[in-house]
C-alpha cells in the first residue's frame, strides 16, 4: 500500500478524490443544482446499489468459472448450463418444500455432484488437451440445454422470495428531501440486500480459504504451476475435483439467486456464460479478487447505463471489455 503511494503520488491523490466524491454523492443529500443536472438522488443511489447486487450475482457465477480456468486452463463453456440447472432444481425444491434457504444447500450439493461427474468422467480423460476440452464443454452445454428444455419447457420460472425477504426495507441513507425539508430515506428490496451481504460474506470466506488454508495454498500453487505441484507429491487430481465441484456448486447457487430476483428460462445459460466470460476477461483469468472487481464493474455499468444512457447500455459492457483488452490484456488483476 505505502509502496503504491510512493510510486504513484499523483494517482493516489486522484483515486482518493474520486472515492471521496463518490462517498459524498452516496451519503450527503444532493443540492438542488445537482438534482437538476443528474436527476434525482434516489435514482442514482438505486442504480449504484442495484449495480452492486447484480455484480454480486455475476461474482457468484464467475468466481467458479475463473477458479476452474486458473487451475485447469480449461474454459468450461458448460458453466452457464450449471447455472441454469441450479436455478431449475432450486425452483423445484423451493416449490415442493417452501424452504428457500435450504434449497441453496441442496442445489450446491447436487450441482457440485454434477461438476464432479463432469470432471471425473469427461475432463480427466483429456487432460492437457485445451482445445478438445473446450469443444467438449460446448457439446455438453448444448446437450444439457436441450434436456432442460425438454424437462422444464420454454416458460419462465420465478423462485418465490420467502415472506421475511419480500418487499422493500428502508436504509439509513438519504435519498432526497421533500418539499417541506423532511428527509426521505432510501428504500431497497430486502432480498437484494440479503443477496449482497451473502455474496460479500462468501467472497471473504473464499479469499480466506484461498490465502489462509492448506487447500487454498495447494489451489494457488496449482494455478501458478501445476506440474511443479504434482512433482512435489500433491495429488493434483483431488485438488482439481474439489475446485471443479466448488465452482459448479457456486454456479448452481447463483441459479437460485438469479431465479429469485430475475427469472429462470431456457437461454439464460448462454446469457450468464457470456456475462462470466466478460467478467473474467475484465478481472483477469484465475483471480478471485479480479472476478469480484470485474463483476461489480460490469454490474454497475449495466445498471447505471440502463438509467443514464439506455441506448448505449448494451454496448457499455463490451466497451469496458475492449478497453481492458487494449490496455491490460491480462485483465485488471490478472498476472
Amino acid at each position: 500500500m505505502s509502496g503504491f503511494v510512493q510510486r504513484n503520488p499523483a494517482g493516489t491523490v486522484i483515486m482518493a478524490l474520486v472515492v471521496a466524491v463518490v462517498l459524498w454523492a452516496i451519503i450527503a443529500p444532493w443540492p438542488a443544482g445537482m438534482e437538476t443536472a443528474f436527476g434525482r438522488k434516489r435514482i442514482f443511489l438505486n442504480a449504484i446499489f442495484n449495480g452492486i447486487t447484480l455484480g454480486a450475482l455475476y461474482f457468484l457465477v464467475a468466481s467458479g468459472f475463473t477458479l476452474i480456468f486458473g487451475l485447469m486452463k480449461n474454459v468450461n463453456l458448460a458453466h452457464g448450463s450449471l447455472y441454469l440447472l441450479g436455478g431449475y432444481i432450486g425452483y423445484e425444491f423451493a416449490e415442493a418444500t417452501g424452504m428457500w434457504l435450504l434449497s441453496f444447500v441442496v442445489v450446491f450439493l447436487i450441482v457440485a455432484a454434477v461438476g464432479i461427474a463432469l470432471q471425473y468422467l469427461v475432463f480427466r480423460r483429456m487432460e492437457g488437451e485445451d482445445l478438445r476440452q473446450t469443444l467438449v464443454t460446448i457439446g455438453i452445454s448444448v446437450v444439457m440445454a436441450d434436456i432442460m428444455l425438454w424437462i422444464w419447457g420454454g416458460q419462465s420460472y420465478q423462485i418465490l422470495t420467502p415472506d421475511w425477504l419480500s418487499g422493500p426495507v428502508t436504509l439509513p441513507l438519504i435519498a432526497g428531501l421533500r418539499g417541506n425539508g423532511d428527509v426521505v430515506y432510501l428504500t431497497f428490496p430486502a432480498v437484494r440486500i440479503a443477496i449482497l451481504v451473502a455474496s460479500i460474506a462468501l467472497g471473504i470466506l473464499m479469499w480466506l480459504a484461498l490465502n489462509r488454508t492448506r487447500i487454498g495454498m495447494l489451489i494457488r500453487a496449482g494455478v501458478d504451476d501445476r506440474d511443479m505441484l504434482a512433482a512435489s507429491g500433491v495429488k493434483v487430481q483431488v485438488v482439481l475435483v474439489v475446485v471443479f465441484a466448488f465452482g459448479a456448486g457456486l454456479a448452481g447457487i447463483a441459479g437460485i439467486v438469479g431465479g429469485t430476483f430475475q427469472s429462470i428460462v431456457a437461454g439464460e445459460d448462454m446469457r450468464f456464460l457470456l456475462a462470466s466470460l466478460v467478467v473474467v476477461i475484465v478481472g483477469g483469468m484465475g483471480s478471485i479478487l479480479g472476478a469480484a472487481l470485474g463483476a461489480v464493474l460490469i454490474g454497475l455499468a449495466e445498471q447505471l447505463g440502463s438509467v443514464y444512457a439506455p441506448t448505449y447500455s448494451v454496448v457499455l459492457t463490451f466497451l469496458i471489455m475492449a478497453l481492458v483488452l487494449a490496455f491490460r490484456p491480462q485483465g485488471l488483476l490478472g498476472r
Binding site: 435514482i43 418487499g167 422493500p168 428490496p189 430475475q262 427469472s263 446469457r271 440502463s306 439506455p310
Partner: protein, 380 residues
C-alpha cells in the same frame, strides 16, 4: 425467447389445416416448418431455404416484428411467390413501401394498442401516467397505438422509459419511476415482463398498471411464480379476449382445447395461435376460390387473397389497399379465475380499426413513424 409463442402459433396453423382435411380440391397440401430465432437475418435465410430448396409456393409467417420487415423486402425479390404474414406486428411491414405479394390478416402493433387509451381515461379515470416499453420496433408501435388514443382522450404522459430487450435486471429503471402518477403503462412481454413484475414487487411498487398487448398474454399469465399476480386488475388491449361471449370465438377455443392434450397447450389459445390460424384460414379460403390451381406467377392467388373477407374467431377481418388487415381490438382486464389461474376478461371491443388509426393519411404521416418520441402528444 419466442419458443413458446412459436409453438402455439403452429397449433393454430394445424387447426386451420385440419379443418379442410389437409387438402384443397383433392390436392394434398404439403408443408415444411422453417424454424427461426426471431431475428431478421435468420428469417430471411430460412425463407430463402424453403423457397429455393423445398420449393414451396407460399410462406405463412413470420412471427416477430423485425422479421416481418425483413420478409417484406425479401418478398419483393420473389414476385411469383407469396408471403402471408402470421403474427408479426410492425407497422412499417405493410405501411411503408409494401410488397405486392405480402399479405397481413392480423392487425399491426399500433392497431392492437388502439382503444385502450380512451378506456383507461374514461372508465378508470387514469389521466396522468408514465410509460415503460420495450426498446424495439414492436414496443414503439404498440405504444404508439395506445398513446395516440390516450392523449386524444385527454391524458398526459409525464415520462417515457425504454427497456433494452433481454437485459434481465430492470431494478434501476423501476427506481426511476415517478410516484405522482395514476398508472404506469407497461409494454414488455415474455421473460422481460416476468422479470419486471418480479422486481417491481420486490421494490414495493403498488401503482396501477396498464398493459401493452404482450404484457398479459398467455405466455406471461402461465409463467410459474408469484410475479404475474401484480397484473390482477390490469387493463390491456389486443387482438382477442379469452372469455369473449361470441359463438365463433367459443367454438374456436373449444376446438383448440379439443385438438391438443391439456399438458401440450395453453388453457386457451394465445394470440399467436389465433393469428396463425387466421393467416392459414385466409390462405386456404383463397386457395379454394381458385380451386387449388396457382398461376405460374400466382396472380390469381394474389387476387383471391386480397378479396378474402375473413369471419375470424376474433372478429371480421378485411384487407386495405396495402393488403393490411382492418379489424377489431379487444380491451380486457386480468382477473383471477375460480381455479386460481389468471386470465383476461372481456371489457370492450373496438371495431374497424384501420392502420392509420382512424386518421387521414396526411394526419397519420405527420405523426412520424413509431419511435421513442412518437407520437408527440402536444401535436394531437
Amino acid at each position: 425467447m419466442f419458443t413458446v409463442p412459436g409453438t402455439d402459433g403452429i397449433r393454430g396453423f394445424k387447426m386451420a389445416l385440419d379443418e379442410v382435411g389437409g387438402e384443397i380440391n383433392g390436392k394434398k397440401i404439403e408443408w415444411v416448418l422453417g424454424p427461426t430465432d426471431a431475428t431478421p437475418d435468420t428469417a430471411v435465410r430460412v425463407a430463402r431455404k424453403v423457397i429455393e430448396q423445398d420449393q414451396v409456393d407460399f410462406i405463412i409467417g413470420p412471427l416477430s416484428g423485425s422479421e416481418g420487415i425483413a420478409l417484406r423486402d425479401y418478398a419483393k425479390t420473389i414476385p411469383n411467390k407469396t408471403i402471408i404474414n402470421a403474427a408479426s406486428g410492425a407497422l412499417e411491414t405493410t405501411y411503408v413501401d409494401p410488397a405486392p405479394n405480402f399479405f397481413r390478416y392480423n392487425l399491426d402493433g399500433a392497431q392492437w394498442g388502439y382503444g385502450l387509451g380512451s378506456y383507461v381515461v374514461k372508465e378508470k379515470g387514469w389521466k396522468k401516467i408514465a410509460t415503460i416499453a420495450a426498446d424495439y420496433s414492436f414496443g414503439y408501435t404498440n405504444f404508439m397505438g395506445f398513446a395516440v388514443d390516450f392523449c386524444k382522450a385527454g391524458g398526459t404522459i409525464t415520462e417515457r422509459f425504454w427497456l433494452p430487450l433481454g437485459s434481465g435486471d430492470f431494478a434501476s429503471i423501476i427506481a426511476a419511476l415517478p410516484d405522482d402518477v395514476d398508472a404506469i403503462y407497461l409494454g414488455v412481454g415474455g421473460t422481460d415482463a416476468i422479470n419486471f413484475l418480479n422486481q417491481y414487487q420486490q421494490a414495493g411498487g403498488d401503482t396501477n398498471l396498464i398493459g401493452g398487448t404482450i404484457m398479459a398474454d398467455q405466455t406471461v399469465l402461465t409463467a410459474r411464480g408469484k410475479a404475474k399476480e401484480a397484473l390482477v386488475g390490469t387493463p390491456t388491449s389486443g387482438p382477442q379476449a379469452d372469455d369473449w361471449d361470441n359463438e365463433n370465438w367459443k367454438k374456436f377455443v373449444k376446438k383448440y382445447q379439443d385438438s391438443f392434450p391439456a399438458a401440450e397447450r395453453f388453457p386457451s389459445p394465445s394470440l399467436f395461435a389465433t393469428n396463425y390460424y387466421n393467416a392459414t384460414k385466409a390462405a386456404l379460403m383463397a386457395l379454394k376460390a381458385i380451386d387449388g390451381k396457382l398461376d405460374d406467377n400466382q396472380t390469381n392467388f394474389h387476387k383471391a387473397l386480397a378479396a378474402v373477407e375473413l369471419d375470424a374467431p376474433n372478429g371480421r377481418i378485411t384487407l386495405d389497399e396495402n393488403r393490411q388487415a382492418i379489424g377489431s381490438s379487444f380491451i380486457t382486464e386480468v382477473v383471477e379465475g375460480s381455479d386460481g389461474k389468471l386470465h383476461n376478461t372481456f371489457k370492450a371491443k373496438v371495431d374497424n380499426i384501420n392502420q392509420r388509426l382512424g386518421m387521414t393519411k396526411e394526419q397519420f404521416d405527420a405523426l412520424g413513424r413509431p419511435s421513442r418520441t412518437t407520437p408527440d402528444c402536444s401535436k394531437l
